[in-house]
């Protein structure tokens, strides 16, 4: 009824190609943004922020980054955890070496450092393809974790190798450290998410994105029509690592507050983010968010139902969580192999015609 395009005429190419071609969608999007920015900070509390919202926002950034590389450019990466660690340690070193540097710049610079590291480990992609490329990124994963664990300079020679985020403020409000205010860190992360998602959306539908997709679909053919594979693959690695580095820096500085490389940025993290984008949908901005939401919220939701509502012993609940999450992944794939994003698209198609499908 409401959700339709009748009467919504496009009179220019720009209008035809906009991200949300349907008026209702467009409004929905702006209203959601407004709600997130205005109502969100008013109702957010510690539990919501730390248990659900912050990890969701931060992993969304990581998923966006990986989706650029894997979903759009077709380069499988299992080094996400390692690249997040680069972002985290870069932000730690920057924060402790330049105490007066604004935290926002610290985070962005950390992303930049990660981008450089990403380019370095992206070089083998010119030669190695498909699943085999995973080995290059896995090498990055294990090597980086080992490096941060081994070289004391990275953790400022502390006794145990743990890094802790000192308190930093933005506009006078604490973002990191113990006295961080929930709504400020929420707004801080949300701003990053919105800007980065907007950037990703526009990058992927511009010339760069088209080149990435050409490489993904068939690299030799792309080369023949004049896409430079070196430049294209490396820009994908750089931008993807930039996103992932920012996610790592936020995860450490704003969310966890303290981290240890092997535990916080191990191989499991790489897999987790990869799962997010596959479940959410490869090559889809919405999919990155949907996948992050699924992998972050589902366990919390199930835990609250089993332990909070039904009073099960925690271990049974934890095992059931695995069984149900695993089962759901399989069911989703059988119903819709292209991820939650495709499910969403189908739903929208149906909605357009509703209530008169014929």
């Amino acid at each position: 009824m409401l959700y339709r395009e009748a009467g919504d005429f496009k009179t220019s190419y720009a209008k035809d190609q906009q991200t949300f071609p349907i008026l209702f969608d467009r409004w929905g999007y702006f209203i959601m943004l407004a709600l997130a920015f205005i109502v969100g900070p008013m109702i957010i509390n510690d539990y919501w922020l730390n248990a659900v919202v912050l990890p969701f926002l931060i992993y969304s950034i990581a998923a966006l980054g990986l989706n650029i590389l894997t979903g759009y450019c077709g380069q499988v990466s299992l080094g996400t955890g390692g690249f997040m660690a680069v972002g985290a340690y870069a932000s730690y070193k920057l924060m402790t070496s330049f105490p007066d540097l604004n935290i926002a710049f610290v985070i962005i610079l950390s992303g930049g450092v990660t981008a450089l590291v990403g380019i370095l480990f992206g070089l083998p992609s010119l030669r190695i393809k498909g699943f085999y490329l995973a080995v290059a990124t896995l090498a990055a994963q294990f090597f980086l974790v080992w490096l941060f664990n081994k070289v004391p300079w990275f953790y400022n020679y502390s006794a145990s190798g743990q890094i802790s985020a000192p308190e930093r403020t933005i506009f006078g409000y604490a973002i990191s450290g113990a006295n961080a205010l929930p709504h400020i860190s929420y707004l801080f992360c949300l701003t990053f998410v919105v800007i980065l998602a907007w950037g990703a959306r526009n990058l992927t539908r511009g010339a760069n994105g088209r080149k990435w997709m050409a490489i993904r679909d068939m690299d030799i053919a792309a080369e023949i029509i004049g896409v430079n594979p070196l430049k294209t693959k490396l820009t994908a690695f750089a931008i993807s690592s930039f996103y992932i580095g920012i996610a790592g820096a936020l995860l450490f500085a704003v969310y966890l507050g303290a981290a240890e490389v092997g535990e916080a940025f191990g191989i499991t993290k790489s897999f987790l983010v990869l799962f997010m984008i596959i479940i959410g949908g490869l090559g889809s901005i919405f999919g990155s968010f949907a996948g992050a939401a699924f992998m972050i919220l589902m366990p919390v939701l199930l835990k609250n139902i089993f332990v909070g509502q039904m009073g099960w012993p925690t271990d049974l609940a934890a095992h059931m969580e695995f069984v149900i999450v695993g089962g759901l992944i399989m069911v989703f794939l059988i119903l819709e192999p292209h991820g939650l994003a495709a499910l969403w698209r189908t739903a929208k198609e149906k909605l357009r015609l509703w209530p008169f499908p014929h």
């Binding site: 510690d46 539990y47 919501w48 730390n50 248990a51 659900v52 990890p55 402790t96 080992w146 664990n149 502390s158 006794a159 145990s160 190798g161 743990q162 802790s164 000192p166 308190e167 450290g177 113990a178 006295n179 969310y255 966890l256 507050g257 303290a258 981290a259 240890e260 092997g262 535990e263 916080a264 191990g266 939401a293 699924f294 919220l297 589902m298 366990p299 919390v300 939701l301 835990k303 609250n304 139902i305 332990v307 909070g308 509502q309 012993p313 925690t314 271990d315 609940a317 934890a318 095992h319 695995f322």
Partner: protein, 428 residues
């Protein structure tokens, strides 16, 4: 975004159904699953069973019933955050995260939220300096005490002279495993022994290189800072190269039944440190049998009673209960708050009479906590595994560690933390 909504409903509902505030809430951030689940289970069982015992036998603490809120972390720091946030609003009195990573993360948070945290034999060692870490306690012993006691044990065996001996440290390549290195290095200087370090990466299923190296270099003693599967493999490999088990000493987290049973008879004679007694030869276990196990109220499968890690969980719970009693005494109210609990922990005094009264005579060392010293005296004992009887036995008393060396290190490390985070020293 439908999941957001679903979660919202579920979380909101679960919060409404939360417990009433009249009970004394002791959260248990346990891990019964994940890579370290096998070790998390007995600890969580022991922790929870002791509170059940206190409720059933004594009618709670000072008339207030206790309630243990368990939250599964799977040894994952992010799940730990969720657990902390979801339980801190329930009036949780003291946190015991049982993970070094989680401890580091919670130190600033608990301080800001005014809730005490007790990290018994793990966590940040320099938290023993109560002047800097006002809300963190790590009595009765920490890793650096452990390292020192292990060296002292070696000294005892060798008649006080270990100059020129070789000691190898096999450690979990993580914050936890790296803790004792600095202390051991200092002690190596002091006692002139040679120290070699062998890192084992998580999870530690493949340690051939390390043990071949040990076989080549023939150290006189091997110390181990391991956790989870690393312990079982290390003990098996040590047995395989026929290293003398009597010279193989693990930290308290490498000294449970779980670690030695898979190696069978080969593990006989393996030693481990401990900060409490082993076995179930204490009157309190009769009470646990009567009030908890036989009543069908045991946590988990109820088959862990008397194992090393069960005892540790129970000991941690006992110390928490005693601290709560102390707090009730100080503030003259039975319904204490987390802030009062902190005062109670700071004034905690464990005497032999007190432990005997609880049916736990000699279960742990005697110690007193003060505002300056949150770590206690750092007493620890050595235990040894008997593979035929399948039991640990305590082979030394709770003996002191080298506080000259450790005290200095604690001051250095805590001063660095204080400087980094602009903390003013308390306890003036």
């Amino acid at each position: 975004m439908k999941f957001t909504k679903l979660t919202a409903i579920a979380v909101a509902a679960s919060m409404l159904a939360g417990p009433t505030m009249a009970e004394l809430v002791f959260p248990s951030l346990s891990y019964r699953t994940g890579p370290y689940g096998a070790n998390g289970i007995p600890f969580a069982d022991g922790y929870s069973d002791y509170f059940t015992l206190v409720n059933e036998r004594d009618g709670g603490i000072g008339g207030e019933m206790t309630k243990v809120v368990e939250c599964e972390t799977a040894y994952n720091t992010e799940k730990g955050v969720e657990c902390y946030e979801s339980t801190k609003g329930m009036g949780s009195l003291v946190y015991q995260p049982l993970s070094t990573g989680m401890t580091y993360q919670l130190i600033p948070k608990v301080t800001a939220d005014d809730i005490p945290m007790h990290t018994m034999g793990y966590g940040r060692t320099s938290a023993a300096n109560g002047k800097v870490f006002s809300h963190v306690f790590n009595y009765p012993a920490n890793y650096w005490n452990g390292a020192s006691v292990a060296v002292n044990h070696v000294l005892d065996v060798n008649g006080g002279d270990i100059a020129g001996k070789k000691i190898a440290l096999v450690y979990h390549n993580s914050a936890y495993g790296k803790e004792p290195i600095r202390t051991l290095e200092e002690l190596a200087k002091k006692h002139n022994f040679e120290l070699s370090l062998l890192a084992v990466d998580h999870p530690g299923q493949e340690q051939k290189s390390q043990w071949l190296q040990i076989r080549r270099e023939k150290p006189d003693y091997v110390f181990m800072w391991g956790w989870g599967v690393m312990n079982q493999v290390a003990i098996q490999e040590a047995a395989n190269i026929r290293f003398n088990m009597e010279n193989f000493i693990g930290i308290w987290w490498s000294g449970s039944e779980n670690d030695v049973i898979p190696a069978g008879d080969a593990a006989n004679g393996y030693k481990a440190l401990n900060m409490h007694a082993v076995g179930n030869d204490f009157p309190v276990f009769d009470d646990i049998q009567k009030y908890v196990v036989d009543a069908g109220k045991a946590a988990g499968a109820g088959d862990q009673v008397g194992t090393v890690l069960y005892n540790r969980g129970m000991y941690a719970a006992m110390l928490a209960v005693e601290a709560a009693k102390t707090a009730q005494g100080i503030h003259g109210t039975a319904n204490i708050t987390p802030a009062m609990m902190r005062d109670g922990m700071e004034a905690l005094e464990m005497t032999a009479d007190k432990m005997a009264g609880l049916g736990m005579a000699g279960f742990g060392p005697e110690f007193a906590v003060s505002c300056e010293n949150h770590g206690g005296p750092g007493l620890s004992s050595v235990t040894q595994w008997d593979a035929t009887a399948k039991s640990w036995s305590q082979i030394s008393d709770f003996s002191p560690s080298d506080n000259d060396v450790i005290g200095k290190l604690i001051m250095e490390d805590s001063a660095a933390y204080a400087a980094e985070n602009n903390i003013e020293e308390g306890c003036k």
